[in-house]
Symmetry: C2
Subunit: 214 residues, 2 copies
Amino acid sequence: MSRVRVHSFTISLDGFGAGPRQDLQNPLGVNGPELMDWFFHTRIWREMQGLDGGETGVDNRMAERGFENIGAWILGRNMFGPVRGPWPDDSWKGWWGDDPPYHVPTFVLTHHARPSLPMAGKTTFHFVTGGIEEALALARDAAPGKDVRIGGGVATLRQYLNARLIDELVLAVRPVLLGAGEPLFADLDLRALGYACAESVAGERATHVVIRRQ
Amino acid sequence: MSRVRVHSFTISLDGFGAGPRQDLQNPLGVNGPELMDWFFHTRIWREMQGLDGGETGVDNRMAERGFENIGAWILGRNMFGPVRGPWPDDSWKGWWGDDPPYHVPTFVLTHHARPSLPMAGKTTFHFVTGGIEEALALARDAAPGKDVRIGGGVATLRQYLNARLIDELVLAVRPVLLGAGEPLFADLDLRALGYACAESVAGERATHVVIRRQ
């Protein structure tokens, strides 16, 4: 069966996976970009933006790992956009413009139904109202022979971890203090859930820790 | 004025500075020794136990930094021992035997008065009932021209951080999941308190992050 993987999910030293008060101006929450200030320097991130250059060290290699053998993605509603509650219309199409960086079927968790949304570059957003298990079943069906990557955000990861549905979680730990935001680990006993750290790799701007379900 | 420093204080990936249920058998709490499994491999730790050998890499160098120019220590009651409430007698003399690894005046925070306790190797334990500021004033007086090191544990660090009394906090982050225990950062907004990460150094078994008050 395909594996369920999380990659390049970044937390601050004090354990926040996003800053507070996410909105249209702050997709990662206030001060959230400080979390991702390792990814922005990598060659793979620059390629995704259509830019040349970028670094090719450990951080880049760890980011690249996250795109290997992925047949479908799952995103939480807040990772897809700042809209809350029922969709006012179909105008919001994600943070990423016409050609999102997924290029495979991408399932968005929401409480509010919406027609599927085909985008350029083979990304199609499907909106799933039946919860995390339904989204995972649909993603697996859409990814024969490949793995499913869960993008985030924090609330989505916590749900999947609590249900023990994630096989491998590769965190990037940034040496920054956010002080406030969305904590990944609070009241989530990953050890009791059967998870353990399998590997730790020092990157240029983050420490990458591989967590696996035992 | 002398600086107030914390060194080699270790947290798990999920943010715990000690395991749960500290007692005589578990000085670091249940699973707590997994936190310190970087320090136990260093030459300086082995020297402190009267043993030869040990590793001399980054982890050892970061541990050694913590002993340079220290004129006094401050310890929380739980770091001094498992006894709770009033001292039943004066028989408990710390976890460390007759010759503790401090070798300077060492101030123990407690709600229960007790006579000072001179030990071998120039360590004297003084018991302070007036709170963290009194302990710091006494430690500074006892350490002319040198710095004060706060050993821990979690509750003691949190009190001193909340009061903005720590100048430099060097954490060791271990890639282990404790799942439960004493969280260092919970509801402690170090960013709002004026702290920031200044440096991150990859060691052999831990990532060392230097946090400074701005």
